[in-house]
Symmetry: C4
Subunit: 238 residues, 4 copies
């Protein structure tokens, strides 16, 4: 396949993944975006900034290089969160797709500044450990290069806390929203939906416990995560 | 009807029941599944594992024997929860259909590790007593045969607490989700929807009471359950 | 118009009003029902018991006399709540339509056993005072004539507390659900939707106040209710 | 364009904006309305009072002068909230469209009598500061000219607290509901949707914090607001 054809296919996939955001109830108005990288041909494809989902087409998708420089002349502006994705695609070399949302349940946890504890097997099926919440950026970090530093503070969170971004494919950016990722644009949207669902379950769980909750036993976490992931997984089709 | 025709009809019913799960808002992504048994011909039909609801057809349904061994050569893999259903179909001989979900409200109660108290007549119309929550499985039970032992811990809950699985047609598996059942695949899905609704009502009731709530009087429970169930029932068409 | 034609029109209106229940999100499965009375011709038309909304037609509606005796030979069984409606149509002579639901927000307040306080103008636009919650029925009342006594306890609530059923067109039956009414079947459904909305607003209001809330000032209640009701109303078309 | 053509276009825009209210989940039944002003030709176009959204057409929109006097002979009655809009259009000369709703989350905060604190960047993207809640109107204000005085108390809130209605394009009217505005009818509806979303996020945030929350740091508020607004904005298309 030629590079042009590959980019055309990426645009279709990225557009389809972006259109899943409203279908899954993850976005309000034009908020949220999905991006996909192809490191071999040096290309990122991302949703344009502030364009309504109702009328979005694959042709509207924005093509940039791996530093986020727009490559096509007649391009719309890329999502303003692109510099965050550039950092994540560079620092987490295994991930192909990234989704960013301001989904309600995820934002509530981000605004509370809290990691989402592993309260059940729905969480454990998808995340091997809590969904971490980053620290706030400093005033300097915000003023200097806000979106790029958002990516850096995500990376810092995973490095400092020794979290594997493959086993924990998403994060809450404090006071802001969610970033999730996976081995395709669509997969990153599905993880975004998982975060939203798990966040609502966790809030209701605490409400029903009326006290700080305990996470599930470790052996549950191991079982549920590894029956869906890794070489001994037995969920889904071969 | 030949055995082949009976299986073909079962596949249609099981597929239709599975498609009710997203319609009723009980599933996220590919989570959840429905199964039906025919003990005379020794067959269980169940949803395949990890297949999207949008494209699911009756032909995708998986046929197994009563021990859960796949019977058709070209079969997809069955839902990973099949061994749980095998135990329930064996130990609860009156039930024909089983539904498993990770529905949000049900999971919240399961993660809180709490029985759902009988707070009103909506509950009493459908469950003659609280919706029980099982204990956690031990590490040994999880490692040995997780899904089968999930079935066993459900059965243990009903046996030890002397609960009749016909009068109480569902359960919360601690930290996990819901199982519900009935005299058809579709009926088990409807009970799943009842659990979800009753769980939300109960959480809101407690929120409004701001204290541990009292269940409804026993005579209410008797009246509402028995006007819908048993030989003196007068709800619905004859 | 002949009596037959009048009944045919009633069946159409009652069916259309019943179909609004799922559209407004007020029912789960087959729960809930709407009835309409015509006192001149001595007829009540009501939803049949336990019939799914998806396939319901005007012909399915059940015709009874003012005591609730079924009038047509080939009739389905009427909703089991009919005896409640018979009492309300008899004791509240100004009302024409009645809706009964197990809608989630209304049930939560009913299960909490609480009147819904007048917390805002949305409430005041529609109810001149709190939405009352009845007492529980006694064991004797439940065993003797449950549905009829449900109607009687509603009437008792309005009589004893000197509430005008025109100014307060609905009630929570303790531990059970909502009844609402109006000058047509459709109007009673709309009031059911109002109750559901106002109940959710009130729960969230208390949650945000984190303490027992105060109702709005009396002059607000007067203004909002009377700008929509009575001879000086100026909301809506003439 | 002739004045007649301009009014015809306004009617289309105002009708389309009103129809977004049910699509965005901001209204129940016939509640809520949107208006647009053209100060050059001295015209306000607003939704008629109490008309169902399902059948609404541009021709139903009501045309008034800047004092709210109906200009067309065959007109329906304007929304009863028109006198509020008249005050806002007069006192806030930069705004073109106004939306009023009784949306659930917004009403909950209005009924709690609380400003919505800036808990995150979703809020900061759209409002440069908390969403203010007005005081209650006095009995005299309600009896004298309720809707006009509602407009005046909104203006008073912004004047006394030195809030810029461009930077903070909406308000909660205590015990009542939301008003939002913008440089078009449609934009005011979008701000109404933002208020609803931000209100839900904020309630859940407090629930998760279990204590009075702290707003986000000031440098976050500055960054997020100004990357979307003002001469250095870089969100959206040029």
């Amino acid at each position: 396949m030629s590079k042009e054809e590959m980019i055309r296919e990426m645009k279709k996939r990225v557009c389809a993944a972006n259109l899943k955001l409203p279908e899954y109830g993850l976005v309000t108005l034009t908020w949220g975006n999905v991006a996909e990288v192809n490191r071999e041909i040096g290309v990122i494809v991302i949703k344009p900034s502030g364009v309504p989902y109702e009328t979005m087409t694959p042709e509207d998708m924005v093509v940039t290089d791996l530093e986020g420089n727009v490559l096509e002349k007649e391009s719309l502006r890329p999502s303003s969160d692109l510099p965050t994705d550039v950092v994540l695609f560079r620092e987490f070399p295994e991930i192909i797709g990234i989704t960013h949302t301001h989904s309600v349940q995820g934002v509530a946890w981000a605004q509370a500044g809290r990691d989402v504890p592993v309260y059940g097997t729905t969480h454990a099926d998808n995340f091997y450990g809590c969904i971490p919440c980053t620290r706030d950026l400093t005033q300097e970090e915000v003023e200097e290069a806000y979106e790029e530093n958002t990516g850096k503070v995500i990376v810092e969170t995973f490095r400092d806390r020794k979290i594997d971004p493959i086993a924990v494919p998403g994060v809450l950016v404090r006071n802001h929203g969610t970033f999730s990722w996976g081995n395709s644009a669509m997969k990153s949207v599905e993880v975004g939906k998982v975060i939203e669902t798990v966040c609502e379950m966790a809030e209701r769980t605490e409400n029903l416990r009326r006290q700080a909750g305990e996470p599930i036993p470790q052996h549950y976490l191991d079982k549920h995560y590894y029956r869906k992931h890794g070489k001994n997984a037995y969920y889904g089709q071969k």
